[in-house]
Amino acid sequence: MSSAWEVVIGLEVHTQLATSSKIFSGAATAYGAEANTQACLVDLGYPGVLPVLNKEVVRMAAMFGLAVNATVAQRSVFARKNYFYPDLPKGYQISQYELPIVEHGEMNITDEDGNEKRIGITRAHLEEDAGKSVHEGFDGSSGIDLNRAGTPLLEIVSEPDMRSAKEAVAYLRKIHTIVRYLGISDGNMQEGSFRCDANVSVRPRGQQELGTRAELKNLNSFRFIEKAINFEVERQIDLIEDGGEVLQETRLYDSDKDETRSMRSKEEANDYRYFPDPDLLPVEISDEFINAVRETLPELPDAKLERFVRDFNLKPEDASILTSSRALADYYEAVLAAAAAKPQLAANWVIGDLSGALNRDGLDISSSKISAAGLAGLLGRIEDNTISGKIAKQVFEAMWDGAGSADDVIEAKGLQQITDSSAIEAVVDKVIDANPGQVADYKAGKDKLIGFFVGQVMKETQGQANPGQVNKILKDKLG
């Protein structure tokens, strides 16, 4: 990328709020139901029906506002955004326009140089989702599935504060982490619970005025977002450098071809004829309500990370991984609470073997096959020298496959570490007798051969000999 150009990115995130019913009706919001089975008359926009606000969404939006240090408006207003589309049953979307519920927030991310960077959050507003048009399987016609119509969304709009695709992804990951910490969204990108549009422009470095932006849509994974932005930045720079001009337009990202394509230009843009929805009263929020919501805020990722580093003496990288989801952090703390394991040892296991096993089986931490208490049991046996770290991996795999607790596995397989010095000495003697050549080399100064001897002893004991003892006895015997 040419360093003569500065990239400017702002993001709009649509996050689906994790309510059990829709924003303006009592219909369920569960994903994956048969088409049109979760749409009631209100969602279908039948004549005479009226919307009634689900109060839960107000609480969730307020939580988000407080979490990003924003102003939660005492009065916000739902408006109608008017346009015709088959998956928009009423011919208008109910959204907040002039007076959103959340304004003036901010959040810190770590930029590419590892420095903290503040990203402004312009606003976050509540709105209803539209339904879905289905173009396959209708013999040239289209079908409409209105299950998603009326699903509550919180649209989070950032300032154009990001300067690279990587920063944009860092911001998105942070928002993703926060909404899941707050429990206000499951953040599932495959199911569309967390979607993102990116406004991308470039300008000559040093120029104040922003370049013309393109809005990128259909960015449904962190990887695609990064690729789409990078593609778009290059496209814009090439265009300008070739004497062309960037058009203000909406562009669709095609992940198969890894390119963005023009969807519609601004000249074709709708006039949405926004006006306050007369069917809904303004949302009034009292200070008492805000304070009550504040009381329910969980510890947020930044604070948790700081505490993990401070209290557990963890490496910041490890603390960052452990706090990337609230469930993972909770699991980690539960391991610590259940055993006197050293925090760094526990962190290594959670980040290493446990996360590896979860990934391998495509499981979430909440459905881990080894409970926090189970893992704590295993770590306890490492700490008290019953088993070595290496044997522990074997025990872990057996536990993962349902063989019971660490103690059950150790007992059943006879994996207790050999700490009886005379037993280890006997094996050491055997190894020395069997390898006279190496012994001679060692004595002649090839110190590195100690590893060879340890390996032989461990092999003889099937890894069960205490490595420290083995080392010491070997060195004694080899002089």
Binding site: L53, G91, R273, P278
Partner: protein
């Protein structure tokens, strides 16, 4: 004499005393509709079978000591209220064959109270009109003069009640659509405070102005009906959680000491002299009964018609977007593509007046015009509401004419929307301010009825009903019956 001449209250007493059954009463009224509605076209759908079944059930309930306040009493619903399994057309080709899968709250409440529904009345298309000539199902004729309009948009309800098809009908009022037709047919038309009656299931025209009410022949009947219809509904966010008083119980108190406000502008040019004379006469009657009059100033009231014709079309342009030919209602055949489906479904399904208002509404909300029209209109609306609030500090009820004149001939104003719109000049203010208001018959001009308009403070329906009832105890204008329907 037939039971059809009796008021709702009288019929209720007759049923209670077992003078007749609900089935007998229902049969009589159905026969009457069948015999006379060819002349009026007041009904879009007559539900004879359902009505007789409901009447039979009401008779059983009554004999079993059950049955609500309206048990066995026949009524008619304006065809704007959704009724399950019975088509709801809203006077439009768009909904010519629309069967609602649910009942409106008003329909549900009246059914719970035991009312028997004879059918659904004709109306201006989507309640947009003041003469009932915009209905896809043809104009309604005024029982007092078949060449005249019964007013609109609730012209079917007003004509049906005036012609003694039923003692009471539901209606809706966005700018005068209950009161104007009531005035022009010599009936009582009552529009409660905005939020008093649920809008759920009432097909929306202009959501911030629409309010359901009743057309009856006496204030007492309006009180009975309103009590059964009103109340908080959690399905309507704009419905107000206030207890519903016993309106009938409050009717007996005299008007002694009541302060009546008179708006100077309402007696200026534009008001037919004869109509003005009847209204002044009615006010004099109330004064003779102990009320006093005070002149009140509503400095911005002259702006109510233009304000209304920005706000109402704006809301209607959005409310009617759902009629797109996709899920329900009229759908154009052989559409070439999506845009063609939208354009032709709506082009064929809506009539001229509806289209005119949708276009006006889309215009006043569009980028670049919103501030000059919609926003400005909302500001003026607030000024008008403030004027009323100040006025009600000094008076209990504001009185004046309901309409500038008696009924006009069908076809007279249909090509001149502005003149037509001016028919609602006295009634629109109450909608903009959300206030309860009613029209009470106060005499005839050239053989056609005119109405006295009463406007009350927020949630003061009781006072309006009481003034009207006391007035009706002293006068017999409401008992006048059109010659052909005696």
């Amino acid at each position: 004499m037939g039971k059809y001449t009796q008021t709702l209250t009288e019929l209720k007493a007759g049923l209670e005393q077992a003078d007749f059954t609900s089935v007998e009463l229902t049969e009589e009224l159905l026969a009457r509709i069948s015999a006379h509605d060819k002349k009026l076209n007041a009904m879009i759908t007559v539900t004879a079978d359902e009505a007789l079944a409901a009447a039979a059930q009401a008779d059983i309930d009554r004999s079993g000591g059950k049955g609500g306040a309206m048990c066995g009493l026949p009524i008619i619903h304006k065809d704007i209220f959704c009724t399950r399994d019975i088509r709801t057309t809203c006077g439009s080709r768009m909904l010519e064959n629309f069967i609602s899968p649910y009942d409106a709250t008003v329909v549900e409440n009246l059914a719970k109270a035991g009312a028997v529904v004879l059918g659904k009345s004709n109306m201006d298309e989507f309640a947009m009109g003041s003469s009932n000539e915009t209905s896809f199902f043809g104009p309604v004729h005024n029982p007092w003069d078949l060449d005249c309009s019964p007013g609109g948009s609730s012209g079917g309800s007003s004509a049906a009640v005036a012609a003694r098809f039923a003692p009471a009908a539901t209606a809706t009022d966005t700018g005068g659509s209950i009161r104007q037709p009531a005035a022009l047919t010599g009936t009582i038309g009552f529009k409660p405070t905005y939020g008093r009656v649920s809008r759920y299931g009432m097909i929306a025209f202009a959501s911030s102005l629409d309010q359901a009410g009743v057309i009856t022949r006496s204030a007492e009947d309006a009180a009975l009906m309103l009590g059964a219809m009103a109340g908080f509904d959690e399905r309507d966010s704009t419905s107000i959680d206030e207890p519903v008083p016993d309106y009938v119980a409050g009717l007996g108190q005299s008007v002694e000491g009541l302060r009546l406000g008179i708006v100077r502008q309402h007696f200026d040019e534009g008001l037919d002299a004869e109509t003005g004379a009847r209204v002044k006469n009615a006010i004099a009657t109330l004064e003779s009964m102990g009320a006093s009059t005070v002149e009140v100033d509503l400095p911005n009231i002259d702006m109510s018609v233009p304000t209304y014709y920005v706000v109402a079309p704006a809301e209607c342009s959005s409310n009617l977007s759902r009629f797109d030919g996709v899920r329900f209602g009229h759908r154009a055949e052989n559409a070439e593509d999506l845009l063609d489906l939208y354009c032709r479904s709506r082009g064929e399904g809506f009539g001229d007046e509806v289209k005119r208002r949708i276009m006006t509404g889309a215009y006043v909300l569009s980028a670049g015009y919103y501030d000059a029209y919609y926003l400005k209109a909302q500001q003026v609306r607030q000024l008008i509401a403030d004027d009323f609030r100040k006025a009600f500090a000094d008076v209990d009820v504001i009185v004046g004419p309901t309409t500038p004149s008696a009924a006009f001939k069908l076809g007279d104003k249909v090509d001149d929307p502005i003149t037509m719109y001016l028919n609602d000049i006295y009634t629109i203010g109450a909608n903009l301010a959300g206030l309860p208001a009613m029209s009470v018959p106060c005499g005839l001009v050239g053989g056609l009825p005119v109405g006295l308009h009463l406007v009350g403070g927020h949630f003061d329906e009781g006072t309006l009903l009481r003034v009207a009832h006391q007035y009706q105890l002293k006068t017999d204008f409401h008992q006048a019956c059109p010659e052909d329907f005696k």
